[in-house]
């Protein structure tokens, strides 16, 4: 599985034709096919190319919304399963 640093993940922000990736609990998801991640932004408040582990804790949905998207890598030095 491909390893991403935070800097590498940051490139996948949906701009200039780049795919749209987000990280959660150490996994990198490709959400390019999601209507709700068009142009690399989600519901105004969230940007692609980032680790959204902490953001998901206060979101009005859980991680189940990510499960339908392919995992394309792991994030190095991520929050992982930290509380």
């Amino acid at each position: 599985m491909k390893k991403f640093t935070k800097a590498e993940l940051g490139k996948y922000n949906g701009k200039n034709g780049m795919p749209i990736f987000v990280a959660y609990q150490g996994k990198v998801y490709d959400v390019s096919s999601s209507f709700l991640w068009k142009k690399g932004k989600h519901q105004v408040l969230h940007k692609a190319g980032l680790d959204l582990t902490e953001n998901l804790k206060v979101a009005p949905h859980g991680a189940e919304m990510l499960e339908k998207f392919p995992v394309v890598g792991i994030l190095e030095h991520s929050c992982g399963n930290c509380s």
Binding site: F35, L36, K38, Q43, V44, L45, V58, P60, H61
Partner: protein, 183 residues
């Protein structure tokens, strides 16, 4: 634009541009849902579809009412709707509620309906969370819409066999919570 209205929201600590953008996206979701639900409702045919048609129609009209209620608030906060309706469609806060591949599959239509409502429940929960105790008018509006979206979700969830909704079909006028914003 209501200048002091916007200023009060800014002073409460809310990023008003972000809030307005969220309101516009949710208004887009409501109007596109009204359109797509028209198609879904027309395809709820046969014995199975007939039993759901009325409630789908209620949800459709109430979602249009939500659009009507949101737009004045957007403009009060110095926002605006996109000039181009295609652009408006594409910024919707929820995915399009497309007719399923098999339009005769009432269960599939119900799943589209329930997922659309669930997206709306999440969206208005988010807006309520942002505005509670800060932007009293937007909170009041978002909470009113949220109440109706929750009932919509519960109706369709019940039809999918997920348990009782706890609600009756509307008796009388639509939008019991949002109607005060439509006067």
């Amino acid at each position: 634009m209501a200048k002091v209205t916007r200023e009060m929201v800014e002073r409460s600590g809310i990023n008003v541009d972000q809030l307005v953008e969220l309101l516009v996206k949710n208004a887009a979701a409501e109007l596109t849902t009204y359109y797509y639900y028209t198609i879904l409702r027309f395809n709820l045919i046969g014995l199975e579809g007939e039993g759901i048609k009325e409630i789908a129609e209620t949800a459709r009209i109430e979602d249009r009412n939500h659009f009507e209620a949101l737009v004045p608030r957007i403009y009060e906060l110095d926002g605006k709707l996109p000039r181009n309706m295609n652009d408006f469609h594409d910024i919707s806060a929820c995915p399009p509620a497309y007719l399923p591949a098999d339009p005769a599959d009432v269960q599939a239509i119900l799943k589209v309906l329930v997922e659309a409502e669930r997206c709306a429940v999440r969206g208005y929960t988010q807006i309520c969370n942002m505005t509670a105790g800060k932007d009293h008018r937007t909170y009041d509006l978002a909470q009113a819409i949220l109440n109706e979206e929750i009932e919509h979700e519960s109706w369709f969830s019940e039809f999918l066999g997920e348990g009782p909704s706890g609600h009756f079909l509307r008796r009388g006028e639509t939008s019991p919570f949002v109607s005060k914003f439509l006067k």
